[in-house]
């Protein structure tokens, strides 16, 4: 009997859970030295600090047995930062000189936002590598304008009803525009799923705020809605309001983050491969609560430890589900990208990351 020749089976590779190998202690040392040098050099060193930080986190994130690389050049980042600072200073000074000029700059920054976001994404992804292959970003400025200017404006006009839709479109823009070498990412999470997450979170927030505001509202009702000066609400009422505010941040915040991360990753694909995210509120909430308490208690010194704890949690709950061999990705030789966009984004606190 002649053995039937079968294709030497590259059996479907098994799912690979990501891992984070960094420690709080290690990062604390990097963080402390970064902070001192950045401040002592009035921020010039911050570009090198950022590269150091990103290389630490990229290098300690592993999946399928390989780590990630970050290749941005500090000088490029420094250039971008100087431009961003100049813009910030111009904005502040214009505010002192003329309200009109101030508003003109506001409009200019608003319109420039899609440009900033596209360049930031291109820069960040082109400078990230895995197994020797760089990532890419192919989203266009037209799409960016639509999802970062058009949709938010519509959202305001519809009093927020379009917000989850806008969010879904923005994430889709970021994910579906990304590529690992020549392989494009895909995004399948639906607007409906976003509405579910936002709606349940919003209901929870409203419920908590209502509970917290109830004592103060009762006080106002008892005093005819316009209290005499000098008549203050009882301390308990103020406490309830403050507690509600904190509860929203500390309790509902992590819930939203967990559900969003799961939604985004579970809806992301890379060619034939998928991702699976199994973060759970039951395990993430205590982690974040401890982070918050310890960070405040140590006047911020715990922050590097907190960041590492979060990175480790997120990595450990992320799985790559291969649909083919992981050796088959190919590089995409495209031109490099400059840094200006990313630094604008960082200074004005845009969330560029996944």
């Amino acid at each position: 009997m002649v053995p039937i020749a079968t294709e030497s089976s590259a059996a479907m590779p098994r799912p690979e859970r990501a891992a984070f190998t960094g420690t709080g202690g290690e990062y604390f040392r990097i963080w402390a030295v970064n902070l001192l040098l950045s401040i002592a050099t009035l921020g010039i060193y911050s570009a090198w600090a950022k590269v150091r930080r990103e290389q630490y986190f990229h290098g300690n994130t592993r999946i399928g047995g390989a780590s990630f690389g970050y290749h941005a050049l500090p000088m490029a980042i420094l250039r971008g930062r100087l431009i961003a600072v100049a813009a910030l200073v111009a904005f502040q000074v214009s505010g002192l000189l003329s309200i009109l000029l101030n508003w003109a700059l506001v409009i200019f920054f608003f319109v420039a936002t899609p440009w900033v976001i596209v360049r930031a994404l291109r820069f960040r992804l082109a400078n990230t590598s895995h197994r020797g292959i760089r990532f890419r970003f192919h989203g266009t400025m037209a799409e960016a304008a639509l999802v970062y200017l058009g949709l938010p404006l519509l959202t305001v006009l519809t009093l927020g009803a379009l917000a989850p839709f806008a969010l879904q479109r923005q994430t889709q823009f970021k994910v579906a525009g990304a590529a690992f070498g020549t392989t494009r990412f895909g995004f399948t999470a639906s607007p409906g799923a976003y509405y579910r997450v936002v709606a349940t979170t919003a209901l929870l927030v409203v419920a908590i705020l209502a509970a917290g505001a109830a004592p103060i509202l009762m006080f106002l009702a008892q005093n005819g809605w316009k209290p005499e000066p000098g008549v203050t609400p009882p301390a308990l009422a103020i406490f309830a309001a403050v507690a509600a505010y904190l509860a929203v941040i500390l309790v509902v915040g992590p819930l939203f983050q967990v559900r969003m991360q799961n939604l985004v990753w579970n809806g992301s694909t890379l060619g034939p491969h998928r991702f699976a995210s199994d973060q759970r509120y039951a395990s993430f909430f205590p982690l974040q609560l401890v982070n918050a308490i310890l960070t405040v208690a140590t006047v911020g010194l715990f922050r590097p430890f907190a960041i590492v704890r979060i990175a480790r949690y997120r990595a450990e709950h992320l799985t790559l589900v291969p649909g083919a061999s992981l050796d088959a990705f190919l590089t995409d030789a495209a031109a490099g990208a400059s840094a200006t966009g990313e630094e604008f984004a960082e200074l004005f606190d845009f969330d560029i990351g996944f």
């Binding site: 290690e26 290098g59 390989a66 690389g69 000098g230 050796d327 990705f329 590089t331």
Partner: protein, 328 residues
Amino acid sequence: MAARYFDGTSSRAHPVGLGVAAGHLVLSGGGIDRRVAAYDIEVSEPGVSRMRVLHFRGGGSLEADEAELLALLTALGLRDSAVARHQMRWSMALGALVLLVLLALGAWAALPFVADRVARVLPANAIANVGKEALALLDRTHFDPTEVPLERQNAITDRLALVAGSDRLPGHTLLFRKAPRIGANAFALPSGDVVLTDELIALAEHDDEIIGVLAHELGHLDGRHALRGAVQSSAVAVASAVYFGDVSSLGAGLSAFLIQAKYSRDFEREADRYAEAFLRRHDIPPARLGAILERMERSAGAADSDAASGYLSTHPVTEERIRELLAP
């Protein structure tokens, strides 16, 4: 773990053996045979779970255990940078933090002086426009036209000019407004407009009390407090943002607010000292200002201005101010 070579074209990992020959790193095994010159190698920094990544100019990279690589890298003359070597030592980190604290304390102490220098260099009307806008806004929202008769307004304006004599006062325009929702108060806007409320004039039992209040407001103008406050607050905002980054806007907002409150209190104290000097110079007892301050406090109904809330409010506790005014 064996060293793994990525050729930069596909994502496949090739296990390779490593060696050194004539200033080159040699990779061999599994169909790979490559030599890379030392100057074409970029080494990743220490501190990443005892793994190192070498990036080769022209493409390709290598991931290997740090232990395995170090001997080879030394043979090739590749060393870690000074910062990379030192930053992982605990002594450096702790030393860095101590220095940071010292720097922060120094900056806190120096910020008023720096803001002062900057404010004196900026043109006086740099934020005059802001003052005009603020006045327009107040006129729309809180101020009504004054009901103080014109002769009384002129009497007050003339009295100030008379008392001041040959003093060089900061450029100012006295304005009168009725402010039922604010009550007895006075404002010095960066445009030079000094606003007196009808309620304040009614509360005063002696014209010199009004002069005292005006002197205090002139103190704000003389010290360019609005301008200095603006310069200081942007520095504080930037510093807070850098340190707290994106963690809890709560923390950043709260700290910025507390620091701001302190600077405003310093300005109020400066204005009080200016007023005291002015009053003494023209033989008016500072107690006049103290008296009207006390009456303003009582009329505002803040019966329990206790110490705790004193730090958080932007005006130093009135009792404290009155005591400082009465001190010889």
